[in-house]
Amino acid sequence: MRSIVLTKGVPDFSDGAVSFNEEGHLERGKTPTVMNPNDAFALEAALQTRVRHGGHVSGMSMGPPGYAAVLEEAMEAVYTDDSYLLSDRELAASDTWATAITLSAGIETYQEEIGNVDLLFAGFKTADGETGQTGPQTAWALDWPIVTHVIALDIDPDERLLRAKRLVEGDVDEIETVEAPLPCMVVTDPEFEPTYRKASHRLTHKRLREETQNRAAAHDRHLTTWDHEDLNLDPDYIGLDGSPTIVSSVDPIPKAPSEREATMVDPADSDGMNEVLGELAPYASGANTAEGGD
C-alpha cells in the first residue's frame, strides 16, 4: 500500500501567534507558519492505513521552501517515510485550480519516478483559504474517485477496495458507508478518529515512532524538492498566470455595535460591588419567592 498525504503550511491563527495590521489584514511576515490543523486527520488516516496494511507513506506539499518544516512536522507526527516539496517562484500566488494542477503533476511525477500510488489523503479545507476546493480539483485532474468527509476507513488490499464511513453534509446525524476502487483520494473529516484494536497494530505504531526519531532529525536527507521543470509544467498554466480566480479585496467584518452600556466594576472595590448587588437584589428576592412556594 503506497499513500501520499497532501499537507499545507498556514498562518498560525492561534491566540498570541497571529498578527494583524491596523486594517485587520493578516501580516504573513510576522505570523509563523504551521501545518494546516485539518491535515492532522489526513495524516492519521494515512498512518492507520500504513499500520494496518504496511507499505509506504510520503508527505507532499506545494509552497515556499519554508514549508519543508511542515513536512518535517508530518514526519514527526505520523512517521512519513519521505517528503516531496513542490516549490518554485513560478508557483507563487496559485489559486485552487492552479494548485490542483500542480499537485496532480506532482503525483504523476511521483508515480513515474517512485512508484504507483494507491491512496491520496488530504484534510478538509485549509485554515487560510477555507475553500475546500483543492482536494476535489486534484482528484478531478488525476481522474481519480474521491471520498470526502471520511470519519472511518477500512482497506481491502486484495480486492483493491476501500470502504469508508462518511458524514453527509458534515452532520453526525447522517452517515453513509461507501466503497470505492483504488487508487482513490480520501478527504478526512475533523471527526476522523483512527482505531487500533489489535495489539500488533499498536506494536507497529510504536516501532514506527521509534524508527522515525532519527529520520525526522535528518529530514533534509529525506526531502525531495521539485520545481516546475521537474514537474513538466508550462508556466502559463501555473502560479498567478494559471489562476482563473483572483481575490480582489478582503473586507474585515465590522464589529457589531454594542446595544447596551457596560459598567466595569473591580471586584476589590466594595462600594462598586455593593452597587452591583443592589441592582441584582430585586431578581434575587424573586428567586426567594419561588423557593418559598415549594
Binding site: 470519519i151 472511518a152 477500512d154 470502504r163 464511513k165 453526525v172 446525524d173 452517515i175 478518529e193 482505531t195 484494536r197 489489535k198 495489539a199 500488533s200 499498536r202 506494536l203 510504536k206 516501532r207
Partner: protein, 578 residues
C-alpha cells in the same frame, strides 16, 4: 438517554463493528503479561530469554505511573532471581540510594529509644536499595520492550485488561478495554494488589480488612548534599529509619523514612482493620510522623512535598495464594498476595521478581504440554522448592498466631506489660540488650503476632523506659489533603466512574470516608463523604462518592460495599514519583 445522543451512539457502534475482529482471526500471543511492574517485567524478560513471543499490557500511560511502594527493593542471597540478575545496570540506572544503615525508633510521647536493626536488615540480604517506582518501572519497561520485541512481542501502555477470555469455561486469553480479545497460551497476571484478573478467577478477594495493610507516603524534596549532611552519610550511602510506638495512638502499624538520591520517602503502614476500628484518618497519621520532633532535625525548616500517594499491601502470611493459578492463568507479585511483612521489614518487589521469573521458567519447561494448567502447577512447585512460599507464609507464624492473636491472650499480655512489673521487666538494662537482639532475630520477628502488643505497647514501653527525651519542636507544616490532591496529576475519564458504591448506607460504606487516604470526615474535596438525608421524615446518613481524586489504592474495595474496577487505560491518577 436523550434522543439527541442516539445518533452519536450509533456512530460509535458502527465504527467499532467495522474494525471488530471475528473469533476466527483473533490475535494470539504465546504469552500475555498483564502489568509492567517488577513482577511483570521479570516474567516478560525471562519469557523473552526463552524465545517466547510475549505481549506486555500496561494500563498506565507509562510503566510506573500507577505504581507505589515504600519502597525498598531487596536482593536476597537465597532467592533464585534478583532484579539485577535479570536487568543489568539496574542499581546504577534505576534505583536510588543503597541502605547502609537501618534503625528502629520506639516512641513514647517525646521519648525515643532507637535500636540499630542493621543486623536484621542484612540477614540474607545481598543488597537493598531505595527506589521510586515511576523512574524504576519505566526503566524496566524500556528494557522489557527491547527484549520482547526481539521475540515478536513488546510492551503496550494505555491498555487495561478488563477480564479473562474464556472458551467453554476455560481461560484462553484476556479481554481489554482498548483492544479486541487476545488469546494466549499463558496469561501472567502481574496486575498488582487490586488484580481484577485474580478476582475474576476467584483466586483472591477484597473481603477482610484483617488481611491488608494500607501504606501512605510523602515524597519530600531534598538536595543530595543536604541529605548527606543531615543523615551523616556519603553520596553513595543511604539510611532506613522505622518508627513504632504511641506515635499513632492505638492504630497498629508504623512509619518509615528512606533516603533517595534527591528526596526522602516518608510513610506509614497500618493494618487496615485497625484503621477501620480506630476510625483513623491515614493522612493525619502520616502528618503525626512528619511533624514528630524526631524528624525535625532531618526535615529542617523547608518542607517541600513532591507527591502524596497510597497503596494497599497484602499480608502474605494470611493471603499469599498457595496455588496461584487456574487453567492458563498464573498470578505473580501483589496480585497473588506475595508481600512479606517480616516484623518491621516489608519485602514485596523482590518476591514479585522471583515469582515472575519462576512463572516464565515454568511455562518454558511445560510448553507444548496438552494440559493447560501444567505451567501453573509447575510454578507452584517452584515457589515451594525455592523456599519463596515459606518466606511468604512461614509455618512458624501459622503456629504462633493460633495462640498469639486470640484476644484473651493479647489482653492478658497487655495487662502484664501495662503493669509496673511488666514495665520494669522490659525497662531493666539487661532487657534493653535482649530486646535489641530480639528485634534483630529474623526467627523471632517472623513470629511476632499482629496484635497491638508488637506495634504499640512494647515499643512505647521501650520508649518510655529506655528512651531519651527530645526537647525540641517540629516546624514542619505538611500540606492539607486538599493541597495534596491538587498537586497530583489526573486524566479523568469524565462520565465514566470506575468505582460505584453498591450500598450507600453509612453502616455498609461509611468506613471509606475516613479509611480512604484521599477522603476525610468533614472534607468535601475527597472521594467519599457522608451526608444527612431526610427520607419520609426520618434522617439517615448516606455515603456518596466522587472518583475524580481517586488514587486507585483499593482501600474502599475492602472497607466499603463497592463495584471496583481500575480506570480505562491511561485514565485516572498519574504518579510521577511512585
Amino acid at each position: 438517554m436523550t434522543a439527541s445522543q442516539m445518533p452519536v451512539l450509533t456512530l460509535q457502534l458502527e465504527v467499532t463493528l467495522m474494525t471488530d475482529a471475528s473469533e476466527t482471526d483473533r490475535e494470539h500471543y504465546e504469552a500475555v503479561v498483564v502489568g509492567c511492574g517488577p513482577g511483570g517485567a521479570a516474567a516478560a524478560s525471562r519469557l523473552a530469554d526463552h524465545g517466547i513471543e510475549t505481549l506486555v499490557l500496561e494500563r498506565g500511560m507509562d510503566a510506573g505511573s500507577k505504581n507505589v511502594s515504600g519502597g525498598l527493593i531487596y536482593a536476597e542471597e537465597s532467592a533464585p532471581y534478583t532484579v539485577d540478575d535479570l536487568f543489568e545496570g539496574f542499581r546504577e540506572e534505576a534505583s536510588e540510594r543503597p541502605v547502609t544503615d537501618y534503625y528502629i525508633h520506639n516512641v513514647a510521647g517525646n521519648k525515643v529509644k532507637s535500636y540499630d536493626l542493621t543486623a536484621l536488615h542484612q540477614d540474607d540480604t545481598d543488597w537493598c536499595d531505595a527506589v521510586l517506582r515511576r523512574p524504576m518501572d519505566s526503566w524496566l519497561a524500556e528494557r522489557v520492550h527491547e527484549k520482547t520485541s526481539e521475540t515478536g512481542g513488546g510492551v503496550l501502555t494505555n491498555v487495561r485488561v478488563n477480564g479473562l477470555l474464556r472458551e467453554r469455561g476455560r481461560i484462553v486469553g484476556v479481554t481489554c478495554d482498548e483492544l479486541d480479545p487476545i488469546e494466549a497460551d499463558i496469561v501472567i497476571a502481574a496486575d498488582g494488589v487490586n488484580s481484577e484478573l485474580a478476582r475474576e478467577a476467584g483466586l483472591m478477594d477484597w473481603e477482610d480488612p484483617n488481611e491488608w495493610f494500607q501504606g501512605v507516603k510523602a515524597v519530600v524534596e531534598m538536595e543530595p548534599d543536604v541529605i548527606d549532611d543531615r543523615f551523616d552519610i556519603d553520596e553513595d550511602e543511604g539510611v532506613a529509619h522505622l518508627f513504632s510506638g504511641d506515635l499513632f495512638e492505638d492504630v497498629r502499624g508504623g512509619g518509615f523514612l528512606y533516603t533517595n538520591e534527591d528526596s526522602l520517602s516518608i510513610g506509614t503502614v497500618f493494618h487496615l482493620d485497625s484503621l477501620v476500628e480506630e476510625q483513623a484518618e491515614p493522612h493525619e497519621l502520616l502528618d503525626a510522623l512528619l511533624t514528630h520532633p524526631l524528624l525535625a532535625r532531618w526535615l529542617g525548616d523547608e518542607y517541600d512535598e513532591r507527591e502524596y500517594s497510597a497503596k494497599l499491601v497484602p499480608d502474605s502470611k494470611k493471603v499469599a495464594h498457595r496455588e496461584p493459578y487456574q487453567d492458563r492463568l498464573v498470578l505473580v507479585g501483589d496480585a497473588a498476595g506475595q508481600m512479606q511483612a517480616q516484623g518491621p521489614i516489608i519485602k514485596g518487589m523482590n518476591h514479585a521478581v522471583t515469582a515472575g521469573a519462576l512463572a516464565a521458567d515454568a511455562f518454558a519447561v511445560t510448553r507444548g504440554n496438552a494440559d493447560p494448567a501444567a505451567a501453573g502447577r509447575r510454578y507452584t512447585q517452584m515457589l515451594e522448592n525455592s523456599g519463596t512460599m515459606d518466606k511468604l507464609r512461614p509455618r512458624r507464624y501459622d503456629l504462633a498466631r493460633t495462640v498469639g492473636e486470640r484476644d484473651r491472650v493479647t489482653d492478658a499480655v497487655e495487662r502484664v506489660l501495662d503493669s509496673r512489673v511488666g514495665s520494669l521487666a522490659i525497662g531493666n538494662p539487661i532487657a534493653d540488650r535482649v530486646l535489641q537482639r530480639a528485634y534483630n532475630s529474623p526467627f523471632l520477628v517472623s513470629m511476632l503476632p499482629d496484635t497491638r502488643t508488637g506495634y504499640v505497647t512494647l515499643p512505647s514501653i521501650i520508649g518510655e523506659e529506655h528512651g531519651r527525651t527530645l526537647h525540641w519542636e517540629s516546624s514542619v507544616e505538611p500540606p492539607t489533603l486538599d493541597e495534596r490532591i491538587g498537586d497530583l496529576t489526573y486524566d479523568t475519564d469524565v462520565g465514566n466512574p470506575h468505582i460505584e458504591v453498591r450500598d450507600t448506607s453509612y453502616e455498609a460504606s461509611g468506613a471509606a470516608v475516613y479509611a480512604c487516604p484521599v477522603s476525610a470526615e468533614d472534607f468535601g474535596g475527597g472521594c467519599y463523604r457522608s451526608e444527612e438525608v431526610k427520607r419520609n421524615g426520618t434522617a439517615a446518613t448516606v455515603v456518596s462518592l466522587d472518583t475524580q481524586p481517586c488514587i486507585e489504592c483499593g482501600t474502599c474495595a475492602v472497607v466499603a460495599d463497592t463495584e471496583w474496577e481500575h480506570p480505562r487505560g491511561g485514565k485516572g491518577v498519574e504518579f510521577r514519583e511512585g
